[in-house]
Symmetry: C2
Subunit: 275 residues, 2 copies
């Protein structure tokens, strides 16, 4: 067991590492994204200039105020293209999907409440829904942990020998679970999404799965939102099941890793009195 000063130093160093990691991230993202952004800006500026050049009759003020309305509508999830009336962001299927992304804290935000009433309802809905979901998933994770522990015991009985240490067997058991999770939660769904969504590459699909199941939910790309999507209700329900199962398994994997004695990193930061 470490003494109080060592643990304090460790925590200080870890916090420092965390801040450095954030700065490093800021630098890398800035470096990688700035050129791409500049390209999009240039293209937009050119398109704008070309349009006004082709139509000198259009007054710049009118054009500007049209753009403002259009961007405002878009922020509210309304697309200004001619077919925009066909997309209904608050149909039952879409609202159901929205409710799921709120209670799981994924929160894509590609559609979000527009009115003050909607926002207040959203807050109240989350106050009840988020703890409820957390409790439900925690219970299921607890039950799955018991199940996995029994497979681990079977595994240990089956493969144990003098040459294999217990921690080695635990490592193999965990690796199998990780590989299974990777295949069934990320690889196979990514292939399915690549197939189902028009214009999605495998990287797009994998990125969507990863950003969703870590509950980051950037919402820059969301499955089932193509305006031409058929069977949207069915698609969104399948997606909901995928998200709920996926988030649960991710919680399970985190719980498993945090329970491994060899990986209990927290011990380096808590002194004897604090454990």
């Amino acid at each position: 067991m470490l003494n109080r000063y060592t643990t304090k130093l460790n925590l200080f160093l870890f916090t420092l590492l965390f801040i450095l990691y954030l700065c490093f991230g800021a630098y890398v993202f800035s470096f990688v994204e700035q050129p791409t952004e500049q390209m999009v800006i240039n293209e937009m500026a050119k398109t704008r200039k070309d349009f006004l050049g082709k139509y000198p009759c259009v007054q710049e003020d009118d054009f500007e105020s049209f753009i403002v309305t259009l961007l405002d509508a878009n922020k509210h999830g309304v697309d200004a293209r001619t077919n925009f009336t066909t997309v209904d962001n608050w149909s039952f299927a879409q609202s159901f999907f929205f409710a799921v992304t709120v209670v799981t804290t994924i929160g894509y935000g590609h559609v979000s409440p527009l009115s003050d009433t909607g926002r207040i309802i959203c807050i109240i809905y989350a106050i009840i829904g988020v703890p409820m979901t957390l409790l439900l998933l925690t219970i299921i994770v607890r039950k799955l942990l018991i199940l996995l522990n029994s497979t681990y015991i079977w595994f240990r009985v089956r493969f144990s020998s003098d040459t294999r240490s217990e921690s080695k067997i635990r490592f193999v058991h965990l690796s199998i679970i990780l590989i299974f999770s990777l295949i069934f939660l990320f690889i196979i769904p990514s292939i399915v999404f690549t197939y189902l969504e028009e214009n999605w590459s495998f990287i797009d699909a994998f990125y969507f799965c990863f950003i969703s199941l870590t509950t980051i939910g950037l919402g820059d790309i969301v499955a089932g939102d193509s305006p031409t999507q058929r069977n949207r209700l069915f698609y969104k329900i399948c997606l909901t099941v995928y998200l709920l199962v996926g988030v649960t398994i991710m919680m399970l994997v985190v719980a498993m890793i945090s329970l491994i004695p060899e990986l209990r990193l927290i011990q380096f930061f808590l002194s004897e009195q604090e454990v």
Copy 2:
């Protein structure tokens, strides 16, 4: 302790309640948001029609393709208004803020990586950053729990008497912490944001604080993103500190509530063998 069948029934009923809650949410959101959405759609359609009516010289095809480019650029965080070149989404300050929202799983997504390289880097960054943040915050929460427990013991010694039960004292202690959290994490920051952000009502600011600290992060409104924002770097750093402290306190409150014996709801779902 409950027997196995009772716990199974409880879990089944709870799952059913969860599904009903999602359907209820879907119904309410659909009911509240559809009229507002229809209003935005109508307004957009009118603006579009008015513009084309005023300028009959503009060909619909050109107009359409202009809108598509504009919406595409907007999806990538590029605003098509004349002043759009002044906003730099991937400056160091903005990238730093992006990194923080990724590792805390808030993930507003109001800016998101545009290129495949950026997306792959984002995935790798999150694989390391999210567990690192989780570990750091868990350590801090553990230390704060010890601190709060000592205030609780002081509290109990100070106010304990034959007429007050232990659970009553614990309830008062928790209530004080909840009220303090509410004031310092939600009310005061909301007032500050209402003051600092143009066009934000108190409800907008409170909604932003709540959606952020629950890590839902819809990203429909984000502080410090007004194009005319002065001292953006300083603002974003303060915001980062607020988010990190806020998320930590929220984790602390959840941990405290889940540790209260009277509120250990999980016991209704785990049988004797499973505890």
